[in-house]
């Protein structure tokens, strides 16, 4: 320490001036480089390729017809609703054997539920407690898709094939329609729900693998209700409905 004190004193004026000048320059100049927020000219937004398919509609209806034979399948689905900058989410994951067997976990805006129904019993888990409930009437998932033929469509687009189980094993079709008309429901006060449907069809067995629906509708005081659903079907023809271990344990405890 001592050996540098003398030379430092000798040059301290010079150093002080340099330090002061630099500090002031940094302070006044803000010392930061000029940064701008990257815009879409810097980073172009990627767009999905799609082309008009004259046979698209026929292909979709054919897939609906083929899928009608499905009785047992697994489902993974979620529905995201956007309002303001907030997302609300509802999810399900489980197995179905039509017409009335189901085992499925569910979450609605962060709260979890679980349902089990076989030919004899129906149990629902809410707030971590299994309760017997009335039988749940399951919709005819594949039969209900036949309502698609009600839709008056002008254009069906085909996107690039995607890989779900094996490379490029799924065809993807897209069309826009009014959800109320597609579902064949009576329109309440002329309400329309513009929607975009994306149907994923297995190339080999022609089953419908997934349905995506994006809809916007008007709600008083909210403006736009933007709903985005993705319903994926898998283990088609092989899935089983088995009682969850937790319910089995609960029923055993009740018998005691």
């Amino acid at each position: 320490m001592r050996n540098i004190r003398v030379p430092f004193r000798l040059k301290q004026k010079l150093l002080r001036t340099a330090v002061l000048t630099l500090s002031l320059a940094l302070l006044l100049g803000g010392c930061g480089p000029l940064i701008t927020a990257p815009d879409s000219r810097d980073i172009p937004i990627e767009k999905k390729e799609k082309k008009l398919d004259e046979n698209g509609w026929r292909t979709i209806l054919e897939a609906v017809r083929v899928s009608k034979s499905i009785t047992n399948f697994s489902v993974q689905a979620d529905l995201r609703t956007r309002e303001q900058n907030k997302y609300h989410e509802s999810r399900v994951f489980g197995h179905v054997v039509l017409p009335d067997k189901i085992v499925m976990s569910q979450s609605v805006d962060g709260r979890s539920y679980y349902v089990y129904q076989d030919e004899n019993i129906t149990y629902y888990r809410k707030e971590d407690v299994w309760r017997p409930v009335e039988r749940i009437r399951l919709p005819d998932t594949w039969g209900s898709l036949e309502r698609l033929s009600n839709a008056q469509l002008s254009k069906v687009y085909r996107q690039k094939d995607i890989s779900m189980l094996t490379p490029n094993d799924t065809e993807v079709y897209e069309f826009e329609a009014d959800a109320v008309a597609v579902a064949g429901l009576p329109a309440p006060q002329g309400k329309s729900i513009p929607s975009r449907y994306t149907i994923y069809i297995d190339k080999k067995d022609r089953f419908i693998r997934q349905i995506d629906i994006v809809s916007t509708s008007a709600v008083d005081d909210v403006g736009t209700l933007f709903s985005e659903a993705a319903i994926k079907f898998f283990d088609i023809g092989t899935t089983k409905v088995e009682m969850p271990a937790a319910l089995e344990k609960h029923l055993k405890e009740q018998k005691r």
Partner: protein, 511 residues
């Protein structure tokens, strides 16, 4: 004594420098930031005269270890603080004295200096001081799954939100605990449901030191219906009761979970069912609001919502910006029933859902609309009265928050939350921009994420909610630029170090 003071000051400087300069470099520039950091560290390392380099480096590592250790200890329970603090001091002090040649006195100095610094500015909040200071921070509010983000409403400088102010009795806590062996699970489940679905409405007032207060019926009825009426939207309908003069809000499921579940098995109606559920949620809440507060809450603009007022035309008149079904409508305030002055429709990829900001970004006296679609964009009304897109973000997670005046300049400040320069991810940081030559030029950035819808309550007071640990944070912008000062000190120290070494070499050569 001098050495102790220097060590203490260096400890404070290094912790602040690390938090406000080093961490932002990495967060903003990723690997490039890391390269700059390595270069900066090397520059500082070689600026230290050779005999002190080892001690200086080890002292720096000790300071950073102490700061992180203390941050974790501060967040712990008192008993753990009492146990961990001496253990950490003894352990680090022993390692420092045995292997690094740092005296116990220096370690104690570092501990004391960093403890004092973190008591004044806790490490997790230090990032704010890149531009803002925390005027006040409320205690943690309840995080309830039924509203993933809680509503934060202001009327003037009074802030309102939801939370459970009522302390649970020991009996209630016992009942809420799920232990099937000791009590019937249904009782516990019912208690749990009640806790989830019933909350107090809270008020925070600056004149009351932002102390949590319960809201009276009169106060609540002076708020517009959408303020809290949409809190449970779209899965829950709200209702209100008055208990001991205070308002309590309740949430009831608009649809049973079973109905929500089965709607997935009829894929073509899943979004229709959602629309129906959402409408019922609003309608039921509206009726409940009217019944409780005796005020009519009919929608002012059926099928739409009012985003705000603005001046979009050069004639000085005021217009209203409405949002309908994925469409912005600009209407005249004086004649709202006339056909819209201009409209702008959102697309499937970029829907518009009440995520808009109105503000004059270029200071020309006319407002622009910032649309927080993905990616975000800025619209300006052109001479032909069409909304024209003048800017679109290159990042998908860019979000506009508000536009405010800046003191001493006519350039408005555009406050956003947007991600790192390199990566495009959901972690966003509060940033201030100005509009210059068709670009958003960054004025400052606070590397603090998890902020929830910040908004200004006055020119110099901003309020923000927070994800994770819900609370209300009151912020004030600082004129002083702490990062610039720290960078200046760093540059001065480095320069002084090299200066010293040059002088030393000359002396040695001359000798």
């Amino acid at each position: 004594m001098k050495k102790t003071v220097f060590t203490a000051l260096y400890a404070v400087f290094l912790v602040a420098f690390y938090q406000l300069i080093v961490t932002p470099l990495l967060l903003d520039l990723s690997y490039i930031g890391l390269a700059i950091l390595i270069a900066g560290t090397a520059l500082a390392f070689f600026a230290v005269p050779r005999p002190w380099r080892r001690t200086f480096s080890l002292l720096s590592i000790l300071i950073l270890l102490v700061s992180y250790g203390l941050m974790h200890i501060f967040a712990d329970y008192l008993i753990w603080k009492l146990i961990n603090l001496p253990v950490m001091f003894l352990l680090l002090g022993w390692i420092a004295s045995s292997y690094a040649g740092i005296t116990w006195r220096s370690t104690l100095t570092v501990f004391t200096a960093v403890t004092v610094l973190l008591s004044v500015v806790p490490l997790p909040e230090m990032a704010f001081y890149g531009k803002l200071r925390i005027e006040h921070e409320t205690e943690a509010l309840d995080l309830r799954p039924i509203f993933p983000v809680y509503p934060l409403v202001n009327q003037g400088s009074t802030l309102y939100t939801l939370g459970d102010f009522r302390k649970l009795t020991d009996q209630e806590i016992k009942e809420a605990q799920i232990d099937p062996k000791e009590r019937p699970p249904l009782v516990s489940a019912e208690k749990q449901r009640q806790q989830l679905e019933n909350v107090d409405v809270l008020r925070f007032l600056p004149t009351e030191g932002y102390e949590k207060q319960l809201v009276s019926k009169e106060e609540m009825s002076s708020l517009p219906f959408p303020s809290f009426g949409l809190a449970g939207f779209p899965y829950y309908a709200s209702s209100w009761t008055i208990e001991n003069g205070a308002v309590k809000q309740h949430f009831t499921q608009a649809d049973s979970p079973q109905t929500v579940l089965t709607s997935f098995l009829d894929p073509l109606t899943v979004t229709i069912a959602m629309d129906d559920r959402a409408n019922r949620s609003v309608d039921t809440s509206r009726k409940n609001w009217e019944n409780t507060f005796g005020r009519e809450a009919r929608p002012q603009y059926p099928g739409a919502t009012l985003i705000g007022k603005g001046k979009f035309l050069p004639d000085g008149s005021t217009q209203l910006l409405l949002l309908g079904n994925n469409e912005i409508r600009l209407i005249n305030e004086a004649s709202p029933t006339d056909s819209p002055i201009a409209t702008y429709k959102g697309s499937w990829e970029q829907p518009i859902a009440r995520n808009l900001v109105i503000g004059d970004i270029d200071g020309d006296g006319l407002d622009e609309v910032m649309v927080n679609s993905t990616p975000a964009k800025i619209l300006k009304l052109n001479r032909d009265r069409n909304f024209e897109q003048i800017w679109e973000s290159g990042k998908r997670s860019f979000r506009f928050e508000f536009v405010t005046k800046q003191e001493g300049t006519n350039q408005p400040l555009i406050v956003t939350q947007d991600p790192s320069l390199i990566r495009d991810q959901e972690t966003r940081y509060l940033t201030g921009y100005t509009w210059q030559n068709g670009e958003l030029r960054r004025e400052w950035r606070v590397f603090k994420s998890s902020l929830l819808f910040p908004f200004p309550v006055s020119d110099d007071t901003w309020v923000s909610g927070s994800y994770g640990r819900p609370r209300i944070i009151v912020l004030k912008p600082m004129d002083m630029s702490v990062p610039a000062i720290l960078t200046g000190i760093y540059a001065a120290l480095v320069l002084a170090g090299y200066g010293c070494q040059i002088v030393q070499r000359r002396e040695r050569r001359n000798a």
